[in-house]
Amino acid sequence: MHKSLLIDPEKCTSCLQCEMACSFEHEGVFNPAKSRIKIFEFEHGRRAIPYTCTQCAEAWCLYACPVEAISLNMETGAKEVAEDVCVGCKVCTIACPFGTINYNQDTGKVIKCDLCGGDPQCAAACPTGAITYVDADWTGYDRMREWAQKTHSQPSA
């Protein structure tokens, strides 16, 4: 069973604990500039939205890579970059429709979310539950439940 990151922007306070956790896990340093997940603010700070790789089933970054540096982790379903193979050509950054794979000037390689090998640190660090890690088939479960609840609380006709 694969799991997916589930993002609920309504709960995000824009504290950036996720960005620090991500950079710490991957680079050993607190550094949002090297985070694979980013928080975007809209409407003068009213909305904060976490955004990262959704691990496409048919991953365009993976197919675009000319040196096969990106591969599927069968355990987690993550598309992972092999740093020792990546040549930094950046073709994957063009192929990705969502912009969630990016070049890192310091290493000359690309970086993307790898689900931390199945224990995503962004979800662990999130203080409000805006980022959770759930059954990949049931990312809609909570929202369904919420609507079901609303239906339940309607007065019957």
């Binding site: 306070t13 824009s14 504290c15 950036l16 604990q17 620090m20 956790a21 950079s23 710490f24 680079e27 050993g28 340093v29 607190f30 550094n31 949002p32 500039a33 090297k34 409407e43 003068h44 700070g45 009213r46 904060a48 310091d106 660090a125 203080p127 409000t128």
Partner: protein, 606 residues
């Protein structure tokens, strides 16, 4: 580790910048942020220099835990000589700017001199540019942030800037970062304006490392858990700081109509509940809460004004969300000036952020002007035709905008209450200490708060001590001196770590110690940490004494010392500063004249 061990020093007169190693001996004696910047300030300038002169030095300082995963790690301090008080100023702020400065590789940014023409600073790691800001001069804070990000095609820049109030020397102008967070008090924005510096824009990708990552992450997880489960934290997250309005109202410590009263009949129309309650037309003031960098509390409010409200009905540019009411803003624009219109309070709050002004001092100055108006000392001829009566919501919002734009009577309000009241021959009307206006706690009901106000090195301030529990317990001045002194030292330490004071809702000194000790070199004990705080307090005091302040400045307005509280728990009481102050000097190891004794200086290595 944890310190970047680097300082960026910019000489604006010469247009030059240099990167220096951090003095680690000082870092270990003063930690960072407030303490370390105070030390650098003392060593970089003559305390007698005019606050608005090029000889004043302006320091932006991060702490050792700024930019780490510790909760609330977004704090930075702006330290300088303040034009409102002519004393040392240290204003701290959250948002995301402070952490970004640290990520760029700096503990401190030291600004000296005065640029011949308006400039802004553009910092990306080691790349530092002083760029012309002539086009930006006259712009609001919000316009400035947008302009700089567009100009550099870099949305990742974090920006701290001033509005027209700072440019024109409004004595309580502040430095605003990330649209609605501010280094608010003592006029640090006016100093930035006097240096012809419009903004500091920074992006960093260096990051922050800690000494013992494994131990640090464990300490961070434990302290976060403690905060998460605390009642105080839950209240701040849900209601924000404005939950305090009800406490002060019930207690009788809510300064109303320039401290003539201590309870406000309209409190329940401007409190935290009112922000969350739907008006008859369906409008709800509060939209959501928001965190500063690294913060797991998220006390910040995001609010919007009813589009049908008289303040913005014809001004679509304000039909959007922005920073909502904190307690101090709600108090200063509500009870203190007698206004109970929550949309007007919110709009005035927006204007403070947009134009870069301290709401506490603006509210305090407006309240004094209202009293002068009701006394007949000033009239409509002086006030651009506006009736400055207590309770007039239009007077609040119009004057907030005039002061922000430095127009008409706003130029007089921009003097702050002390100079304004002196100008009109009634210095006793100014409710301030060392020229800085009071926060929302009346020191007749809260005696220890009164002592804290009187002795705070930056003038009246509620955030430099913590005797709240003692004050709620007992309404006399007895036994307040020692807890006041001890909490001042503790708070000075916390203000120097890079973390937020609100973590004390759940944390004691040990929680700071274990995070500092895992992150920073040196063996950190609680005693050593507290000593950093006490050293900082005494150093600030020495700055003020050298600047010309004396024990005579450690006092309160007569209204609090001689006029009894009209209602509440302290009905019939005055602030017993005369009992507390000598005890306080003794507890501090100061002479009767309020000067740190040789023994005290020696003990602290000053």
């Amino acid at each position: 580790m944890s310190w970047q061990k680097k300082i960026l020093r910019v000489n604006l007169s010469e247009g030059s910048s240099s990167i220096e190693p951090l003095n680690m001996e000082w870092a270990k004696a003063y930690l960072g942020e407030r303490g370390l910047a105070s030390k650098y300030l003392m060593e970089s300038m003559d305390p007698k220099a005019d606050a608005m002169s090029p000889e004043n030095v302006l320091i932006f300082a991060t702490g050792p835990l700024t930019g780490t995963m510790a909760s609330t790690s977004g704090r930075y301090a702006v330290v300088t000589k303040g034009p409102l008080t002519n004393a040392i100023a240290c204003s701290n702020s959250g948002g995301k700017f402070g952490a970004e400065l640290k990520f760029a590789g700096y503990d401190l940014l030291i600004l000296e001199g005065r640029a011949p023409d308006p400039v802004y600073l553009h910092i990306v790691n080691d790349h530092v540019e002083i760029l012309p800001a002539r086009e930006l001069w006259g712009c609001t804070v919000w316009q400035t942030e947008e302009w700089i990000k567009a100009r550099h095609q870099n949305p990742l820049l974090k920006i701290a800037s001033i509005g027209v109030a700072g440019e024109r020397g409004v004595r309580f102008a502040c430095v605003v970062n990330d649209l609605h967070r501010a280094a608010g008090r003592s006029g640090v924005g006016a100093v930035m304006g006097a240096k012809n510096l419009k903004a500091v824009a920074v992006h960093g990708s260096v990051g922050v490392t800690v000494k013992d990552p494994k131990r640090f992450m464990k300490a961070v997880a434990e302290t976060k858990d403690l905060l998460e489960s605390s009642r105080g934290r839950k209240g701040l997250t849900k209601y924000g700081t404005n939950a305090m309005m009800d406490t002060m109202q019930e207690f009788g410590g809510l300064p109303t109509r320039n401290f003539h009263e201590v309870q406000f009949e309209g409190a329940d129309r401007v409190n935290a509940r009112a922000m969350m309650t739907s008006k008859p037309n369906g409008h709800v003031n509060l939209l959501t809460n928001k965190a500063c960098f690294g913060c797991t509390i998220a006390c910040g409010r995001i609010a919007h004004i009813d589009e049908r409200h008289f303040t913005i009905v014809n001004r679509k540019e304000y039909w959007h969300a922005s920073g909502g009411l904190e307690y101090e803003t709600a108090f200063a624009f509500g009870p203190l000036v007698g206004v109970d219109d929550i949309d007007a309070l919110t709009f005035a709050g927006f204007l403070m952020n947009e134009h870069g002004m301290d709401p506490i001092s603006f509210g305090g100055t407006l309240a004094a002007a209202m009293e002068l108006y009701e006394m007949g000392v000033i009239g409509k001829d002086d006030t651009d035709g506006i009736a400055l009566e207590f309770g007039n919501a239009e007077a609040l919002t119009v004057m907030a905008e005039k002061t922000g734009k430095y127009e008409g009577f706003g130029q007089i309000l921009g003097l702050g209450s002390r100079l304004m009241c002196e100008k009109y021959g009634h210095p006793e009307i100014s409710m301030s200490v060392k020229g800085q206006e009071f926060a929302g706690y009346d020191s007749r009901a809260m005696q220890g708060m009164g002592l804290g106000y009187a002795t705070s090195n930056r003038g009246a301030c509620h955030l430099k001590h913590d005797v709240f529990a003692e004050d709620m317990e007992d309404q006399s001045g007895r036994g307040k001196a020692v807890p006041c002194k001890e909490s001042q030292d503790r708070v000075a330490m916390i203000d120097s770590t890079g973390l937020c004071l609100f973590t004390t809702a759940a944390w004691g000194v040990e929680e700071f110690r274990k995070q500092i000790d895992a992150a920073c070199e040196g063996d950190w004990t609680e005693e050593r940490l507290i000593a950093c705080g006490e050293r900082t307090w005494n150093l600030e005091r020495q700055f003020n004494l050298a600047a010309g302040l004396t024990a005579a400045d450690d006092t309160l307005p007569k209204r609090l010392l001689e006029v009894p509280a009209p209602s509440g728990v302290a009905k019939g009481k005055v602030c017993q500063l005369d009992i507390m102050l000598p005890e306080y000097y003794e507890a501090r190891g100061w002479t009767k004249d309020g000067v740190p004794s040789e023994q005290t200086r020696k003990r602290l290595g000053l």
